[in-house]
Amino acid sequence: MSLGAIAIGFVAGAIAGMFGVGGGVVFVPGLVILLGLDQVDAEATSLLAIVPVAIVGAYRQSGYGNLRLREGLLVGALAVPFAALGVVIVNAIPERAIELGFAALIVYVAIGLLRSDAPRE
């Protein structure tokens, strides 16, 4: 179990570093399919895993001069109540709806990867 989690993390991070996509689109399916978490628990756990990746990524990008810190922090701060709202919604609606929504999201990201040389999450 632990080795599986470490492998998911390393692979997700490598993909994020290579393609500029965030870790979440890999963390969530990895946690569901390989570790057997249910969809909501996988999403909740993914959010925790994203934090260190984003901290290191933001630090590195600021070194390259690619970070508009003031606006980034402003967006983050303004987003807090909406992130909380999203979590409340996800805990209130049927899990099947979330699974289908998430599947649609990763199909969208996959199509972006196939169509573009500059994909993003």
Binding site: D41, G72, L114
Partner: protein, 120 residues
């Protein structure tokens, strides 16, 4: 900062926040294109700036999920900490591997994951 710019930042924040909470992702899918289209960011600036926002957004969302008792803290750390090393490895590999082939492979992996999620 002009009022219209602040409003755009607020709209981006609202969309990214709900998206992050709903799907357990950072919200970059929403933020990066909007930073470019609405605020005239360059692609790299958009990606870099979205990471700073993601720290706060994912941090806030995970606190609420902790209150619901849905976070597997051990698994999250076992995934998240090695991921940092993976990012460094990925950035290094980017210069040394056939990127387009890997991109297609990753896209197919995502599509297979989507099928698996749908059929259960």
């Amino acid at each position: 900062m002009p009022r219209s710019r602040t409003l755009k930042l607020g709209a981006i924040a609202a969309a990214a926040g709900v998206f992050s909470g709903l799907f357990g992702v950072g919200g970059g899918t929403v933020m990066v294109p909007l930073f470019i289209l609405w605020l005239g960011y360059e692609e790299r600036e958009a990606a870099g700036t979205s990471l700073a926002a993601i720290v706060i957004i994912a941090g806030a969302a995970v606190i609420v999920q902790l209150i619901y008792g849905n976070v597997h803290v051990g698994d999250g750390l076992l995934v998240g900490v090695p991921a940092v090393g993976g990012v460094v490895a990925g950035t290094w590999l980017q210069q040394r591997v056939p990127r387009r082939k890997l991109q297609i492979l990753f896209a197919l992996l995502l599509l297979a994951s989507a099928v698996k999620l749908v059929i259960g």
